[in-house]
Amino acid sequence: MRTAFLETLFELAKADERIVFLTGDLGFSVVEPFARQLPKQFVNAGVAEQNMTAIAAGMALSGKIALTYSIANFPTLRCLEHIRNDVCYHEANVKIVAVGGGFAYGALGASHHATEELGVMRMMPGMTVVAPADPIEARLATRAIVAHPGPCYIRLGKAGEPNVHEGPIDFELGRAIQVRDGRDVTLLSTGGMLKTAVGVARRLAERGVEARVLSLHTLKPLDTEAVLAAARETGAVVTLEQHSIIGGLGSAVAEVLAESGLPVKFKRIGLPSAFSPRVGSQQYLEEQNGLTEEPVLRAVEGLLGR
């Protein structure tokens, strides 16, 4: 996803000199071509995320489309008040980009586990929050946030994730993408968990359960119509995210369902509000937290009473 983002941004920036890319001293071996070819549109802010964020706001208020780039929690939680006051309050055209969402940097330790930032960013007034599922979505999401006036946050994975979508997709901020249709249950996924959702749906199908799968790449604004349609038409909804079950996709969907009055079975699958006691690869931490196909499958079947 990182590569998809950088390639797309590079292409956009060549055609629009308003685009400026600020990095918090990260991007070794991948950002250099941008820095070399578009020096007037590149800023290395150093290891200073608060300053980077407010400088981006100041540049945006001078007519720029400013992107801040760092990894894990550094471009979000580290400089949260600068995002709230300097970016959001001024409706500044700033795009916050984090590489390494969820457990992408699992072995690097709790400091690098980005597992609460979607919820925190959702709470920022006027912030659009996006977590693409694969490189195909990441490319289109990059174009969409740059074209969208106002504050955006995009959570990327790292490099080398497989494409989950098998063909071309229609990508629109705030519109869920239906990957698979079904009438028995809906799996709502955000970010890279789409791959797991699709795998689980396939296994459910083998057992005679037809699952609808939606990629909710935009957490805010949430596609409430798609969520309500899922509840009405399939009667059971499961959310899937590599994020705390507090504040993220599960919470957002729960808010919509609770107010809808619809009779619906509902289950949030995500992370407990706790630090991971051990480090490890993304795969390992997914296993430890019940985010792989097998435990998700069991959870869905449990919800359906099978």
């Binding site: 407010a54 100041g58 006051n85 300097d86």
Partner: protein, 271 residues
């Protein structure tokens, strides 16, 4: 444009009346920077109150947002909005909040109130201006207490590295912060040397000597290709004898006899 001493006097008078009416804090902080604001708006800043978004305007950022009574006052006196609107300071439904607020207040570039934001915002504007080959300047007024914030020193490091000679930081060094004197709370000395060490062109002036302020403002950038820092030695509560150098007047609003004395000392219209 009013003569600068009269502009300074009006800023003080409005600030006293606004804080009194609103029973608001921070009158001492407004009074310490009144002379700096008067010289800046009266003689240096290029702006057009009829077109607040004029792209080539100079930018002014009040990073010490709590001193906003003085800012609103100078904006009203320079034609951004009617002076009568100052009476709505702090009132229900008013856009004139107790910390500098841009929403629906023409002339306020950015909202502040949390310390340690303004210099970064101004640095971003200065960087954008540089990259676009623009000639305007960005002026940022900071408090001394605000220099406790680590986020003040991030742009302090950044701006000289990027040769932002279109950026001016003014520190309103009134030597009193929220809970005591700067010396007692977190000593900043040697303050000018700190800015110098970060790569700024620095001057120290008496922040109430209009001639000295004028001379410093006219001389920026002090060092070629460098941002400029003016350490303005000021007196908290300047212009009202019983407020001067008193921590109490970071908080208390002048009312009753206090108000009468303040207005008498600030004086009547001189023209």
């Amino acid at each position: 444009m009013l003569p600068t001493p009269e502009l300074a006097r009006r800023i003080r008078r409005h600030s006293v009346l606004m804080t009194s009416r609103a029973n608001a804090s921070h009158i001492g902080s407004s009074l310490s920077m009144a002379d700096l604001l008067a010289v800046l708006y009266g003689e240096f800043l290029r702006f057009d109150p009829q077109h607040p978004d004029w792209p080539d305007r100079d930018r002014f950022i009040l990073s010490k947002g709590h001193g906003c009574a003085a800012l609103y006052a100078v904006l009203a006196e320079t034609g951004y909005f009617p002076v009568e609107r100052l009476e709505t300071f702090y009132q229900d439904g008013s856009p004139l909040a107790g910390h500098a607020t841009h929403k629906d207040v023409a002339g306020v570039e950015v909202s502040t109130g949390s310390l340690g934001h303004g210099l970064s915002l101004g640095t971003g504007m200065a960087l954008a201006g540089k990259r676009d080959g623009k000639a305007h300047r960005v002026w940022v007024l900071l408090s001394d207490g605000e220099c406790d914030e680590g986020s003040t020193w991030e742009p302090a490091l950044f701006a000289p590295h990027h040769r932002l000679d279109n950026l001016v930081a003014i520190v309103d060094y009134n030597k009193i912060q929220s809970f005591g004197t700067v010396k007692e709370v977190l000593d900043l000395e040697p303050l000018a040397d700190k800015w110098r060490a970060f790569g700024w062109g620095v001057r120290e002036i008496d922040g109430h000597d209009l001639g000295a302020i004028r001379e410093a403002f006219a001389a920026v950038p002090f060092v070629a290709d460098r941002p400029s820092c003016i350490v303005a030695h000021t007196i908290k509560g300047k212009g009202v004898s019983y407020m001067e150098n008193q921590l109490l007047w970071h908080y208390r609003a002048p009312r009753g006899q206090d108000l009468e004395i303040a207005l008498r000392e600030i004086g009547e219209e001189s023209q």
